[in-house]
């Protein structure tokens, strides 16, 4: 009798073990972080070792998919004592859209269908800042046009972001250095954040993003410019893969008139603090109390 019950136990244990082996075998063939998704654990909650594994898997997946063996995916953490802020000099911006294309070049946005994180709004000087009257499709032979000024708009990296509050799965959040990021592996594609954002700064991959292999920027960050899958939302991250290593964002460096400023808000002697002290600074849609870290100013 006792021998019989032991047999049944052995049978059950071995059946259980073989099921688990089957699941893990299936899981090994699945996409990155599949086990974690099943266990409802997000990338940021994992151990360093497991993160490293996931990054390696992700790199491998990107390399195979796009046929390039130099693609790297990092998870560079926020620097201590740093809160990023951005300044844009409206008195200098000429609306040339160099920043728009530099951003696309840097951040691996889909070329077709086209996704651009920066939109340059052309506004008329006699209207002032008026979103309803603004035009993003302006295409004259030369800019600036004498009766217009230009307001480039991308993610404002709000201190009280509406987009992160509405996310049903916490796939988007604010990092310690102020950058609002998205975990593409976790994003459902419900687009609630897009409707919550008052700046139109979030963009959706309606199809599989298409980039030519040779146009890919291989230096990527998991929450930034990594190659995104179909059906996820994406946005400006202040070039997280550059700025966390100390570099200026791509749009700052390309701007031919030097209208774009970037730096650490906590650095008393830095250029951001100087311009906030000395210049006429404002934020977009202040009345919404999103408290952006993106400051527009007039230097003259």
């Amino acid at each position: 009798m006792s021998e019989k019950s032991f047999d049944r136990r052995t049978l059950l244990v071995s059946a259980g073990l073989s099921t688990m082996a089957g699941i893990s075998a299936a899981a090994s063939g699945k996409s990155t972080g599949w086990v974690e998704r099943l266990l409802k654990r997000r990338f940021v909650e994992l151990s360093d070792a497991r993160r490293e594994e996931i990054l390696t898997e992700l790199e491998e997946a990107c390399r195979v998919k796009y046929g390039r063996d130099d693609i790297t995916v990092a998870d560079t953490p926020a620097l201590d004592g740093v809160e990023f802020a951005y300044g844009l000099d409206l008195s200098r911006c000429v609306g040339c859209r160099r920043c728009v294309y530099s951003c696309v070049h840097e951040n691996n946005q889909s070329r077709d269908p086209q996704i651009q994180w920066i939109r340059v709004l052309e506004m008329k000087k006699d209207h002032g800042i008026d979103f309803a009257e603004s035009n993003v499709y302006y295409d004259p032979d030369e800019v600036p046009e004498p009766d217009s000024f230009y307001v480039p708009v991308a993610c404002q990296q709000c201190r009280q972001p509406a987009c992160t509050k509405v996310c049903p799965v916490k796939a988007t959040w604010q990092e310690p250095d102020g950058i609002v990021v998205i975990d593409s592996d976790w994003c459902l594609g419900c687009r609630c954040c897009m409707s919550a954002c008052p700046y139109g700064a979030r963009h959706f991959n309606w199809t599989e993003p298409r980039i030519a292999t040779e146009e890919i920027n291989p230096d990527t960050h998991i929450f930034g410019n990594r190659l995104r899958p179909n059906g996820v939302v994406e946005k400006c991250t202040f070039c997280i893969h550059r700025t966390r290593k100390g570099r200026y964002p791509a749009c700052v460096e390309i701007c031919p008139v030097g209208a774009r400023k970037f730096g650490n808000l906590l650095d008393e002697a830095g250029e951001m603090r100087y311009l906030m002290r000395e210049k006429r600074v404002f934020v977009l849609k202040e009345e919404l109390n999103t408290r952006p870290r993106f400051y527009y100013f007039y230097a003259t």
Binding site: C96, H105, Q114, D139, T243, Y248, I254, G258, K261, G263
Partner: protein
């Protein structure tokens, strides 16, 4: 003949008016619905409502744009200025010489007699358009008459072309202050380390400093044309 009473008049008028007002109402409804339809189609922004010459019909990527260097190299020395012994140093590229390569100026001017008289230059430097401040401005306000390889400040101090910002800063004090703080002009490199500045003359022609208009890059594609290429491919695929 009996004169119609007041009430009769009103009644007959109403009878007369009624068919008129109802047709007016119908006309009004028709007019309103047509105008609403037009309004909706404008608001919706249908394909037909984009004017012929307007941009935004085609998606451009950075690869299709020529004349803009998206992969610009940093100045050599910036990495060292970030991590090396010269940490925090600001680098400035050499001043832009006119394309004909005039420098050093003394190669010619050492042998020429000084003519301080403002005049139209004919033999040399006739490409210089002087449009900077007061109309009586002349070369020797900034260029040193005795040694043309250097510039001269108002106080008589001689400076090289590498320090030309000091000359500009004599008049443009507020801009000069902003430039030193990094608020005016373009910086490249590391926000927390080595970075490069540009001299005033890299962006502004000192002789005619107003910033010239430039050609904008193409506008974003309009939503109604967004997926056109993908759709066209999908339609073509079954025929192959």
């Amino acid at each position: 003949m009996e004169r119609p009473t007041g009430s009769d008049l009103v009644n007959s008028d109403q009878e007369k008016l009624l068919p008129g007002s109802s047709s007016l109402a119908i006309l009004l409804i028709v007019f309103l619905s047509i105008s609403m339809l037009i309004l909706f189609s404008i608001v919706r922004g249908g394909v037909g409502h984009v004017a012929e010459g307007d941009g935004g019909r085609q998606a451009f990527g950075p690869a299709e744009i020529s004349g803009v260097e998206f992969d610009g190299e940093l100045l050599p020395g910036i990495e060292e200025a970030t991590t090396g012994p010269d940490q925090g140093e600001f680098l400035v590229p050499p001043p832009p010489w006119s394309e004909s390569g005039y420098f050093p100026c003394t190669e010619c001017h050492a042998d020429l007699d000084l003519n301080p008289e403002p005049r139209v230059l004919e033999e040399m430097h006739d490409d210089i358009e002087l449009n900077h401040g007061p109309s009586d401005r002349w070369c020797l306000d900034c260029h040193n008459p005795d040694d043309r390889d250097v510039l001269r400040l108002i106080n008589g101090r001689l400076i090289t072309f590498d320090e030309s910002y000091l000359l500009c800063g004599q008049c443009h004090g507020t801009i000069f202050r902003d430039w030193r703080q990094g608020i005016h002009g373009r910086r490249q490199g590391y926000w927390n380390g080595g970075k490069s500045y540009l001299l005033c003359a890299h962006c502004h022609d000192p002789h005619a400093p107003a910033f010239h208009a430039i050609t904008p890059l193409p506008p974003p594609v309009r939503p109604q044309f967004l997926a056109r290429t993908a759709q066209e491919e999908a339609q073509e695929a079954p025929h192959e």
